[in-house]
Every structure is written in structure tokens, then in C-alpha cells.
């Protein structure tokens, strides 16, 4: 389970023109809970605070204020244990191109404390699921971006995490590969894992998410099943909720 309570995060950026420092509040008092066996969709435009929120849950960043619990563990105090239970994938992540998928997965399995033999077996199983088993011994600089993304997904799931966070998992993928990823997310849900997916692709949200939270200007809106949100804002698509939020009327 993931429990996020009153999360705050601000950054200081330098304005090159005025030479002054500016404080930007990226996340402002966000709270939500994701249960095991649930897929939570985190939506929002670029720069809304989605990635910052996900990075804080994945312990890559520390919140300025608020509290996050993953599987009952405090992310600020037990970061290493949290990362052991969490599979994180982000668009900012790439694969080590000098390795083959098999080598990479074996190595990351060891990083996560998985026995190398088990890591390799599980790696091959995941590559098979992602239809990449034929490329398991090909150096990754020879793989396409979609194939590399599949390896990244396998890397994130290698240690059999209870919690999975996928930030834009289908970015840059063709329709077929994207479908494979969605199928995998459904499998994870059926296995009782806690899943958070951040995306721009609205049909994907409709298709797989049990509940949706829309981050806009660092604040969370919605936090309900997609149909309920549509009803709440009296619109037909989630895109329209976006437009309303941008116009300021829905807040």
C-alpha cells in the first residue's frame, strides 16, 4: 500500500535574466492512498508535479513537508528497505548500453539482493512476457528504443516488487508494445500489487486505472474512479477536465 499525506516540495531556480532566485512550489499538500491490487493513474500536464511526487515516493527525493508510507515503511527513514519493495520506472531512465539484457538483469537482481541464478531466471521470464527473449544476449546499443524500454520494465520488476511506479511507461512505444505493457500492468494488478501509473495518454487511464488523481499546479484533483471524475466535472473525457483545470473553473 502507498499512503501519501500532505506532501510538499519546493525548488529554488535561478532566473538568468534577472539573476534572482525563484522558489517554485512543485507539490502543494498532496494526499492520496493506493491499495494493493489497485492501479492508480496520476495525470497532469508537463511540470505539474507528477514526476516530483513519484520521485518522492521512490525515495529519490525528500519531501519538504508531509509523510509517505510504502508497505508500512517510512520513505524518509527507511529508504533502502522501501526501494527493495518498490519497482520504479521513469522516462529519465535508460539502460546500460554496453550490457546485454541478460547481464543487466542479473546485475540489477544482485543490486536488489536477489540470488543471481534466480535473478537470471526471473529476468528471462520477464523478457519472454515482454516478447524480448530472443534479444536477451544482444548488446543493448543494438536494440530499438522500444526494446530498451521493455528491458527497463523488466529491470523494474526483477525483484518482484510489491509496489510498482511507472512514470510514462508507454512513451515512445508503438501500439503493439504499449499493449504488451498494459497487459503486464493488468497482470500486476491481478497479482495484488500496488501500482501507480503516470501518463499523458488518456485512453490508457480509462482502460486500466481504478482511480485517478490529476495534479495541476502542484495540487491534486479528482482522486476518484475515472467515471466519477467525469461525472463530477460534467464532461465526457478526462482531457476536458484538464481544460477546465487550466481555465481555472474546475478548481
Amino acid at each position: 500500500m502507498i499512503q501519501v499525506t500532505n506532501l510538499h516540495k519546493a525548488f529554488t531556480v535561478k532566473d538568468r535574466k534577472t539573476k534572482s532566485k525563484k522558489r517554485i512550489e512543485a507539490v502543494r499538500g498532496i494526499s492520496f492512498t493506493v491499495q494493493p491490487g489497485e492501479i492508480y493513474g496520476l495525470l497532469g500536464p508537463n511540470g505539474a508535479g507528477k514526476s516530483t511526487t513519484l520521485r518522492m515516493i521512490a525515495t529519490l527525493m525528500q519531501p519538504d513537508q508531509g509523510h509517505i508510507e510504502v508497505c508500512g515503511l517510512d520513505t524518509q527513514k527507511e529508504g533502502e528497505k522501501v526501494r527493495g519493495k518498490l519497482g520504479f520506472l521513469s522516462t529519465d531512465m535508460n539502460v546500460y548500453e554496453r550490457f546485454t539484457p541478460r547481464e543487466l538483469l542479473r546485475l540489477f537482481g544482485e543490486f536488489q539482493g536477489v540470488d543471481p541464478t534466480i535473478a537470471e531466471r526471473r529476468g528471462i521470464y520477464l523478457l519472454e512476457k515482454l516478447q524480448l527473449a530472443d534479444f536477451s544476449d544482444v548488446k543493448m546499443d543494438g536494440l530499438s528504443s522500444g526494446q530498451k524500454q521493455k528491458v527497463s520494465i523488466a529491470r523494474a520488476l526483477l525483484h518482484d516488487p510489491k509496489v510498482v511506479i511507472f512514470d510514462e511507461p508507454t512513451t515512445g512505444l508503438d501500439v503493439l508494445t504499449a499493449k504488451t505493457v498494459l497487459d503486464l500492468l493488468r497482470v500486476m494488478k491481478s497479482e495484488g500489487r500496488t501500482v501507480i501509473v503516470s501518463t499523458h495518454v488518456m485512453p490508457l487511464v480509462d482502460e486500466i486505472c481504478d482511480r485517478v488523481g490529476i495534479i495541476f499546479d502542484g495540487e491534486l484533483y479528482g482522486d476518484a474512479p475515472p467515471r466519477e471524475i467525469l461525472g463530477r466535472y460534467s464532461v465526457r473525457t478526462l482531457d476536458e477536465v484538464f481544460f477546465q483545470l487550466a481555465a481555472g473553473g474546475a478548481r
Binding site: L60, L86, M93, F111
Partner: protein, 406 residues
């Protein structure tokens, strides 16, 4: 510490996949140094043989013919040429001749009266052939002076040893091994300082800023490995590559010296010369000297590697990292050159100056003058600095502004 070992393994696995870098780091020195040394020796030998085989071209202005006939007789060493038109100095610079000799106009009369006469020799010291001609002239004059003095002594029936009241006999306190060991003691710190830094810098930048640039660092940080383990694993990998690269350089140089020694010995034997005095590495540096030097490499290598990691961690890409790391080469070269300065070992403050005290200690180890407290101080000081820099790098890797620098 499992995480440190795993990151170390990962970095070495990645490094070993880059065959080109492996070749340039470990194989290239083994080919390059012997090749360069052999080529330079061959060129120097060729030049020397050419000089030895050819008579020096000289012009002699000697109106009284006091010296010219003597030099003309020595056709093996001198080729007496006609005075060229124009400036003699320019003729020397243009290498049209090797030496211009001017003898006093009344030299023959002075010689007759047993008075000294002056010989002026114009030489171009920037040219080895001109310098060699000067040496030949000196040798010939020394021989001729002796002959003239012997004739004069005989004329007055004086003993032959009259002009030599003393006889200086030189006895060497040191042997060739110690002399070479002191030379090594000057060179080794220089090579170590530069080798450790330059061999580690590329890989340090690749492992830190390179990971950010290739977007792989986040996947590493999202594992359950502590960040301290990640930075220490990278530090040890950078350090080990730097040290191994440096050792390969030293091995390659040693190999070159052995080849060089053999070439010279063969050349001497072919010319029927005396057997050359040969010195083994073991005579110059005892196993304890080598071991203590290698032991000092550990903190020094760690210190350099942690500086490289510190700079690399702050950069957002490899180019930025190299821009920050490269100026360090000049600092290290300056330190290296300074460490070779004569009289350096006499400076009282040196044992307290970081890095240079390592150079001083190695120099003293090779000179058989090592002082225990200086060695321990250099070791502890460098270890402290390495630890401090590694701590700063770890702190830096925990800073979000550094991690997510765009």
C-alpha cells in the same frame, strides 16, 4: 559492504566491454613505450655513429703554421677546409663547417720562445656536430700540449712528472645501483602523480557525469543499494583503473629500459668494447621499497580518484566533467615537476605539504634515506584527504540539486 563490491563489479564489467579503452589503457603503453624508446635509441646511435665516422669540417686561420699542420695530419678527425667567403659565424650556423679556429699570428714564434699562445675556436653549441668537433679539438690540443711539455722537460733533463705534483684518485662511495636508484626516486613520483590522475580521470567522468548523461544513474539509485555504497564502489573502480593503468605504464617503461640496456650492450659488444656494468631493478629498489611505494599509492590514488569523482558528480554531462577535471592535469604536472626539483628533499616544510610529501617519501625510499615518521605522516595525511574527499562526494550525491542537474 556488499553494495560497494557490486558497484565495483558493475563498473569493471562495463569498462571491460569497451575493448578500445582497454587497449589504450593497458596494452598501448606496452607497445608505445618500447617502440618510442627503441626508435629514439636507434636515432641517437645512428647520429653518434655518423659523427664518429665523419671527420669534423674545420677552418684554421693560422698564419705562422703553428697548429694547422698538426690538425691537417689528423685526417681521421679533421677535414681542414678553405676559409669560406662571408661571415664565419653564419657559415657555422648554416652547417657549412663545424668549427672555425683562429691561432695567434705569432704562435710559432711564441712556441719557440716557450710562451703560451691563444687559439680561438668558434663553435655552434646548438649543433651536436659542432660540439663534437670542439671536443675533438680539445682532445687533440691536450695530447699536443703534453707532447710539447714532455719535449721541453726532456730538453732540460727534468723528470717527466714535474708538472704533476699531485695525483688525484677518485673512489666512489656509491655504486651504479644507488645512483640509478636516486634517479628512479626522482622520476617515480612524477610518473605516479601524473599516471594516477590521467588514468583515472576519463573513467571517473564516465562513471559519474556519464551516468547522468546516459540517464542510467537514476536506475542505479532506485535500487536498494545505499548511496554511500554506490559512490564508494565507483571510487574503488576509478582508483583501481588508475592504479592498474599507472602500473602498466611503469612496467612498460621498465621493459623499455631493459630493451634499451640490451641494445646498448649489443652495440658495445659488436664494437669490441668492455662489458657494460648492468643493474637489475632488484639492485635499485628492494622488495620493501617497492612494497612501501605501492602502499603509498593506495591513499594517493584514492585521493585523486575522489577529487575526480567530486568534480564528476557535480557535472551534468561528461563534457562538463572533463572541463572541470582536465585543469587538474596541469596542477598534477606542476607538482610532479616540482617533486623532481634538486634539493627538494632538504626543504623542512615539505613533509607537511600534502601530495608533495608522498613524492618526497618515495624519493627518500629510493635513496635509502627514508624516515619512518615522514612515511607515516604522508600516508595518514593522504588517507585523511582521500577519506574527506570521498565523504564530500557522498554528501554531494545525496543532494537533489546535483542529482537532478539538467
Amino acid at each position: 559492504m556488499r553494495g560497494v563490491g557490486l558497484i565495483f563489479k558493475k563498473e569493471w564489467m562495463e569498462f571491460s566491454k569497451d575493448k578500445r579503452t582497454l587497449f589504450f589503457t593497458f596494452i598501448m603503453p606496452l607497445i608505445l613505450y618500447p617502440a618510442i624508446f627503441t626508435m629514439m635509441t636507434k636515432m641517437a646511435q645512428g647520429d653518434r655513429d655518423r659523427r664518429h665516422g665523419q671527420a669534423s669540417r674545420i677552418v684554421v686561420v693560422d698564419p705562422s703554421n703553428a697548429l694547422k699542420p698538426i690538425l691537417s695530419l689528423d685526417s681521421k678527425d679533421f677535414l681542414v677546409m678553405d676559409t669560406p667567403s662571408g661571415d664565419l659565424k653564419q657559415a657555422l650556423r648554416d652547417q657549412k663547417l663545424d668549427l672555425a679556429i683562429e691561432v695567434d699570428a705569432d704562435a710559432a714564434a711564441k712556441l719557440q720562445k716557450q710562451e703560451p699562445f691563444t687559439i680561438k675556436a668558434m663553435v655552434d653549441e646548438s649543433e651536436s656536430s659542432s660540439e663534437y668537433a670542439m671536443k675533438r679539438l680539445k682532445d687533440t690540443l691536450e695530447k699536443q700540449d703534453k707532447a710539447w711539455v714532455a719535449a721541453r722537460l726532456e730538453a732540460i733533463k727534468a723528470p717527466k712528472d714535474l708538472p704533476n705534483p699531485t695525483n688525484l684518485v677518485k673512489e666512489k662511495a656509491s655504486d651504479l645501483a644507488l645512483e640509478l636508484s636516486k634517479v628512479l626516486g626522482m622520476w617515480v613520483p612524477y610518473i605516479l602523480l601524473i599516471g594516477l590522475y590521467t588514468n583515472a580521470m576519463q573513467h571517473g567522468a564516465y562513471m559519474t557525469a556519464g551516468e547522468k548523461e546516459r540517464h542510467t544513474l537514476l536506475s542505479l539509485l532506485s535500487t536498494s543499494l545505499p548511496r554511500t555504497h554506490i559512490i564508494w564502489g565507483k571510487l574503488l573502480a576509478t582508483f583501481s583503473i588508475g592504479v592498474l593503468g599507472t602500473i602498466m605504464n611503469i612496467v612498460a617503461m621498465n621493459l623499455s629500459f631493459i630493451l634499451l640496456g640490451r641494445q646498448i650492450a649489443t652495440a658495445e659488444a659488436m664494437q669490441g668494447g668492455a662489458a657494460m656494468e648492468t643493474v637489475k631493478l632488484a639492485d635499485m629498489a628492494s622488495p620493501s621499497t617497492l612494497m612501501l611505494t605501492l602502499l603509498l599509492l593506495i591513499p594517493l590514488g584514492l585521493f585523486f580518484s575522489s577529487i575526480i569523482l567530486f568534480l564528476g558528480t557535480q557535472a551534468k554531462n561528461t563534457r562538463e566533467a572533463m572541463t572541470a577535471i582536465t585543469p587538474g592535469i596541469f596542477v598534477v604536472i606542476m607538482l610532479g615537476v616540482f617533486s623532481m626539483a634538486p634539493g627538494l628533499d632538504k626543504m623542512a616544510a615539505l613533509p607537511y605539504i600534502p601530495v608533495l610529501n608522498v613524492a618526497l617519501t618515495i624519493r627518500k625510499l629510493f635513496s635509502h634515506q627514508a624516515v619512518a615518521w615522514q612515511y607515516i605522516l604522508a600516508f595518514l595525511m593522504t588517507t585523511g584527504l582521500a577519506g574527506g574527499m570521498a565523504w564530500i562526494s557522498t554528501r554531494l550525491l545525496n543532494r537533489e540539486s546535483v542529482l537532478f542537474k539538467q
